[in-house]
Symmetry: C2
Subunit: 320 residues, 2 copies
Amino acid sequence: MHELVKELFLRKFDNPILSKLTDAAILEARDKRLAFTTDSYVVRPLFFPGGDIGKLAICGTVNDLSVVGARPLFISCGLIIEEGLDYSTLELIAESMREAAELARVKVVTGDLKVVEKGSADKLFINTSGIGGIDDGIQLSTKRIEAGDRIIINGPIASHGVSVLSSREGFDFESRIESDLAPLNDLISTALCASDQIKFMRDPTRGGLATTLNEMASASEFGIMIEETDIPVDDDVKGVCELLGFDPLYIGNEGKVVIVVGPEDVEKVCECMRAHELGRNAQIIGEVVAGPKQKVCMKTLIGGTRIVDMLVGDQLPRIC
Amino acid sequence: MHELVKELFLRKFDNPILSKLTDAAILEARDKRLAFTTDSYVVRPLFFPGGDIGKLAICGTVNDLSVVGARPLFISCGLIIEEGLDYSTLELIAESMREAAELARVKVVTGDLKVVEKGSADKLFINTSGIGGIDDGIQLSTKRIEAGDRIIINGPIASHGVSVLSSREGFDFESRIESDLAPLNDLISTALCASDQIKFMRDPTRGGLATTLNEMASASEFGIMIEETDIPVDDDVKGVCELLGFDPLYIGNEGKVVIVVGPEDVEKVCECMRAHELGRNAQIIGEVVAGPKQKVCMKTLIGGTRIVDMLVGDQLPRIC
C-alpha cells in the first residue's frame, strides 16, 4: 500500500526535481526574497461541492504565498493516511492536487507519507508547505495602511464554509452551494501589476472576513469602516446562513482576497480584477478610517453603525 | 485552547520573522541553490528515551537538509492536535523543539495549528518542512559514486527504533536504550569542509542502514560490499534485537549519516568526524564495488557473503 501510494503521487506530480527522490529537493533560487508558509488540512468530509482536501491543500498554500506578494513556486506534500483508506479515494485526491498545481503553475517537489493505524487519524490529513519568490519593489505591509485607503474583496463571501458544513451534515438544500476554492495567484499578480498602491492583502479563510478585517485593523494604527450593503453574499448562501444562525462575515472562504489599496488607484484595481474570472464580482466594501482605532465598524442596512468584533470562542471546526 | 497553544509556540520560537505573523514568512535568500524538504512525524509514544516528537520533528528535517549538503536555515511547524491533549504535554514538546532548533541553529519562521475532535488523531502529529542553503561547489549525487569509494557511518546503529519500540511496548530491559536522535548539520558540515571527495550522503532512518545502502546501490551503477564485523551496534541494542527477532540493519536511526567518500580522503574524513561529539565512533563499514551491480552484499562474521535485501513488507510502524 505504502509503495503504491508513493508511486501514485510521484506519477501525478512528475517533475525532474521530485523524481530525483533525494532527502531534500534541490531548487534554483533566483529571488532575493522568498516567502515560506505551511498549512495542515484536516477538512471533513474529504470531498465537498467545489473541491476536496487535495485541491484545498494546493490552493490554500498557493493563496498564503500570493497574499504576501509572492509568486508561488514550489510545494511540499506530507500525507498522513489512516490505514484502510480506499486507494480509489487517494487517486481522486492526487488527481485533483495535480490539476490544482497545474492551474496555479506550482511544482510539488518533495513529499512524505505516513500511514497510521485505523482509529489513529480521520482518513487523511495533508500538510502542504510552499516557497514563493517576491519581486523587487513589492512591499506589502500593514505599516503602509493609511486612513482613506479602500478595501476591496474579489467576490461573494462564505460559500466555502457553508459548502463544507452542508456536505458534512448532509443537509439537502434546494441549491447546491459550491465552495469558492481557487488558486488566487494569477488574480493577485494581475492586481499587483496594475497598481503600486496596494498596501496589504490577506485571504479571509478561517474566521471569515470579520476576522481578517480585525487582524488588519489590529496591526495598523487605524480603524476600518465597512458598508453592509456593499458586502457581496450570494442569496443561497445568505439563506442557509439565516437558517442555521450563522453570520456570513465569520464563515471561512478559500477563494477570496481582501485588498487594501490607496484611494487614487482603487477604481483601476477593481477594473483590472473584474476583468479576471476570479474577480468578476470584485467590490469596494469599505475604507480605512482614523478611528475608532483598531476596530472594525459596519454601517448596517438599516442605517446604524455596529462594531464587528473578533469571534469569541470556537470557530467552525475542520472546514480547512 | 487554540489561542493558548498558538501563544506557547510563538513564545518558544520567538524571532522577528515569525512574530510578524504574516500568511507566509518573508525570508532573505543569499544562496543560489536551496534545499526543501518535508516530513510528518507520527511517532508513538510521544516521549521515548533520548527524545520526543518535538525534538524528532526538528532534528529529522535538519538532517534531511544536511545530507543533501545544505545548511539548514528555516523550519515550518504544522501541528495537528487531538482535542483533550494536556497543555503540559504540549509545553514539554514545544520546549524540546525550541532546544533542538537552538542546537541546530535553525529558525522556526512559520506555523499552523489544527485541532481535531477526540478520536480523529492520536494525540499529536507534527509536520516540519525546511529550507536550507547550499554552498557553491557542493555537489552530492549518486552519479559521483565509483567503485573503490568507501562507506562511513558516524556511530552504532538501531538505537532509535529499539528505544521507541521498547517504550511503546513497555518492555522493562535492564539497560534503558536511548535514541540516537540528534541534529547532524554540524557534524556533516565539518566533514564536507574536510574533503571534496564526499560523493553522497543519506541518513538511514526508516528501514535502517540496509534500506539506505540498497537505495544508494540502486541509484548507482555499482554494488556495495559491507563487513558485518565493522558495523557498529551497541551490545544492549544487539541484545534487544536478538530477543525480539529484529535485524539491527533494518531498524531506523535518527542521528546517523552514511557517507560515501573517495578512498584517498576516507581516513581524513573519519578522523575529522571522530573529533566531533556525534562522530566519535565513526567507522568505515564497507566499499563500493564493481558488482554485483545495484546489490548490497555483506561479508558475515563466519566468513560467508550474503545479499542484504530491501525490506519486503511493512517496516516498523510509527517510529518517526
